[in-house]
């Protein structure tokens, strides 16, 4: 029994049927009653296990990541892979190159082949996410949408700790290198940065937006030097390492002349010299929790949807931050 048949019989779209079960408040009462009556009549249950039985279990789950070459995506994917293996499932990965239409296409290609789908920081529109969730159980990582299960990291507090750390070292001019605008992750970091700056009586200076890549950090470094800041908070570790790299070329010493903080704490943070002070995001826990949520029979069963699971981040102090010196 498919959602489309229920939709056709009730005279509504498949997305509406999905909403009735995942987000009943978003549907008019009479429509909801009509859909429920048809669903009952046709013995349609949007229970994930029942759904996969109807579809024939594939023993596979899928994940769509923004960039398969990104170190943070790599850590999440590995954690997901291990947890999926524990559940007896294989994992298929697809990368989107950070384009919403690509992402939709890859998610759509995976959907019929898997028992469940994880989406990392998806950029696609709400309606597309709901439609996808109507065909296969979906859990999102770092995106919130009513009615769809998700696991998110609230990095705002740890980013604020980073600002406090720099302030305690005597820094009064700190610049934030912003990541892709509109991304969920950038929003949290920006909020933590602004709140901490306001609390400590410092001006919040932002540069960017930058791509979340090494090359963007190389480019940002010269802008940072021109800004007169003594400390940098970068959107992620790759950008931070790009900054360090360019500063080395310019003869600026880290942390003697300039302090740098990244975000993610991928292996890159330990590979760079000096080792990077960074906000550690719990990528491993994030991936594992997302898989467990996907296999949780409560997800997408009936009108009761789980609340998003919120994980927190920690500031890891290493060698790229030090006391401010007069330049």
């Amino acid at each position: 029994m498919s959602i489309r048949e229920v939709a056709a019989r009730a005279g509504v779209s498949a997305a509406t049927v999905s909403r009735v079960f995942t987000q009943p408040d978003a549907v008019a009462v009479d429509t909801r009653q009509r859909v429920m009556a048809v669903a009952e009549d046709m013995r349609y249950t949007p229970h994930p296990v029942a759904r996969s039985l109807a579809r024939g279990r594939t023993g596979t789950i899928g994940i769509v990541v923004p960039d398969i070459a990104n170190a943070f995506s790599g850590v999440i994917t590995k954690a997901v892979q291990e947890e999926a293996r524990r559940e007896g499932s294989a994992l298929f990965v697809s990368g989107s190159d950070e384009q919403a239409d690509d992402e939709q296409r890859w998610a759509g290609a995976l959907a019929p082949q898997v028992d469940g789908l994880l989406l990392v920081s998806p950029l696609m529109p709400d309606a597309a996410l709901r439609e996808l969730d109507a065909t296969v159980p979906v859990v999102m990582i770092n995106r919130l949408l009513d009615g769809i299960a998700s696991v998110v990291v609230d990095a705002a507090e740890a980013v604020a700790h980073a600002v406090e750390h720099l302030h305690a070292l005597g820094h009064r001019r700190i610049v934030y290198l912003a990541g892709p605008s509109g991304s969920y992750s950038n929003g949290f970091r920006l909020r933590g940065y602004r709140e901490a700056c306001a609390r400590l009586g410092m001006e919040a200076t932002e540069l960017g937006p930058f791509n979340a890549r090494f090359s963007a950090g190389v480019r940002a470094a010269d802008l940072v030097l021109a800004s007169g800041a003594t400390a940098v908070l970068a959107y992620n570790d790759e950008v931070a390492v790009g900054v360090i790299n360019r500063l080395f070329d310019r003869g600026v010493r880290v942390p003697d002349d300039l302090s740098i903080v990244g975000v993610d704490d991928t292996s890159l943070a330990e590979m760079v010299t000096p080792r990077l002070t960074t906000v550690r995001l719990p990528a491993d826990a994030l991936g594992r929790a997302a898989v467990r949520m996907l296999f949780d029979p409560l997800v997408a069963r009936g009108p009761r949807t789980r609340d998003p699971l919120v994980l927190h981040a920690d500031l890891i102090i290493r060698s790229s931050t030090g006391p401010v010196t007069s330049r």
Binding site: T60, A71, F92, D97, A109, L110, F248, M271
Partner: protein, 330 residues
């Protein structure tokens, strides 16, 4: 006319019929002739459209890589992804964590859901490929298997360039940090041994049996203890681990020790000093492997002998190599 009828008439399995048309070299000549005769009599044509109708074309390709978080694997996967997308296919990627049983399980799961399968540096036994090609066309990167088309990056020549470079800088005692046993490691070793013999160098091999950053950190101390003035690492990740450990130990690169990596992934440009590395044409390899695979998928090619494409490597000199301490290069 179905493949089953052809199989019944020829007295073989449908998988064998499929192999005759997709991987002819894996079927004995006698069986092949019998199947071809049966196919002709029954006017069976495995043309791409008929085939995709019969099999239900998925519009997907798959790739199984050894380690999904490895930087070289991700450069290959990206190139494969681009080429697949350009040809109108979605790409599924799976990582085996270098476990043979897992690799085979993933390959089987994928084979059933894609129109063609790529495997990067696979470790499964040769016989396993027969079972996979019975389900879907297969091509490999960096592995030689009879009957399977392959893109190969033999690195012996890149290694020769690396050792020659160190020799010219005055180094006479060089260590090679070996990775996991694989086609890639074997060709590096071949090049290393040949160059060492030719130049009469003092050469040592340290078998790390690993290819990650942490193994390089561990190797750093072994390199110092060896007394060598230059080290060549299996890949950039190991080389960066060595750089890291040497920096902690107060050993200067390249003033005290020269370091060379392999792969030339983005990592080589992120270190300080920038890493001298042997560049592997990962992007070219990924794209070529997709085209090779699609030739099978679309039935454009059914060659008697599996195609082999060999790609060259090149030493990229940056800042981690310098004249041997206390002895300027001639």
């Amino acid at each position: 006319m179905s493949i089953r009828e052809v199989a019944a008439r020829a007295g073989v399995s449908p998988a064998t019929v499929s192999r005759v048309f997709t991987q002819a070299a894996t079927v004995s000549a006698a069986t092949r002739q019998r199947v071809e005769a049966a196919a002709k009599e029954l006017a069976y044509e495995p043309n791409p459209v008929a085939r995709s109708l019969a099999r239900g074309r998925t519009g997907n390709l798959g790739i199984v890589v050894p380690d999904i978080a490895n930087s070289f694997a991700s450069v290959i996967a990206k190139a494969v992804h681009r080429e697949a997308r350009a040809a109108g296919y979605a790409l599924f990627i799976a990582g085996s964590d270098r476990r043979q049983d897992e690799e085979y399980r993933l390959a089987r799961a994928m084979a059933a859901q894609v129109d063609g399968l790529l495997m990067m540096s696979p470790r499964i036994a040769d016989e396993r490929f027969e079972q996979l090609t019975a389900v879907t066309p297969v091509a490999v990167i960096n592995r030689v298997v009879e009957g399977i088309p392959a893109v190969l990056i033999p690195t012996a020549d890149g290694m020769r360039q690396a050792v020659d470079h160190l020799y010219a800088l005055g180094h006479r005692h060089v260590v090679y940090l070996a990775g996991l046993q694989s086609y890639s490691n074997t060709t590096r070793l071949d090049g290393f041994r040949a160059a060492c013999t030719r130049l009469d160098l003092r050469c040592e091999e340290i078998d790390l049996d690993d290819s990650r950053f942490s193994a390089g950190v561990r190797a750093g101390d072994l390199v110092i203890a060896s007394g060598a003035t230059a080290v060549i690492a299996y890949n950039d990740e190991i080389a960066v681990g060595v750089l890291n450990r040497l920096a902690h130990r107060g050993v200067r690169v390249p003033a005290d020790v020269s370091v060379i990596g392999f792969d030339d992934t983005g990592l080589a440009e992120m270190t300080m000093p920038l890493l001298t590395s042997v560049r592997l044409p990962a992007t070219t390899a990924g794209a070529a492997a997709v085209r090779m695979l699609l030739d099978r998928v679309d039935g454009r090619e059914a060659p008697a002998a599996a195609e082999r494409l060999y790609l060259p490597t090149e030493l990229v000199i940056r800042s981690t190599t310098a004249p041997r301490p206390g002895r300027p290069a001639a």
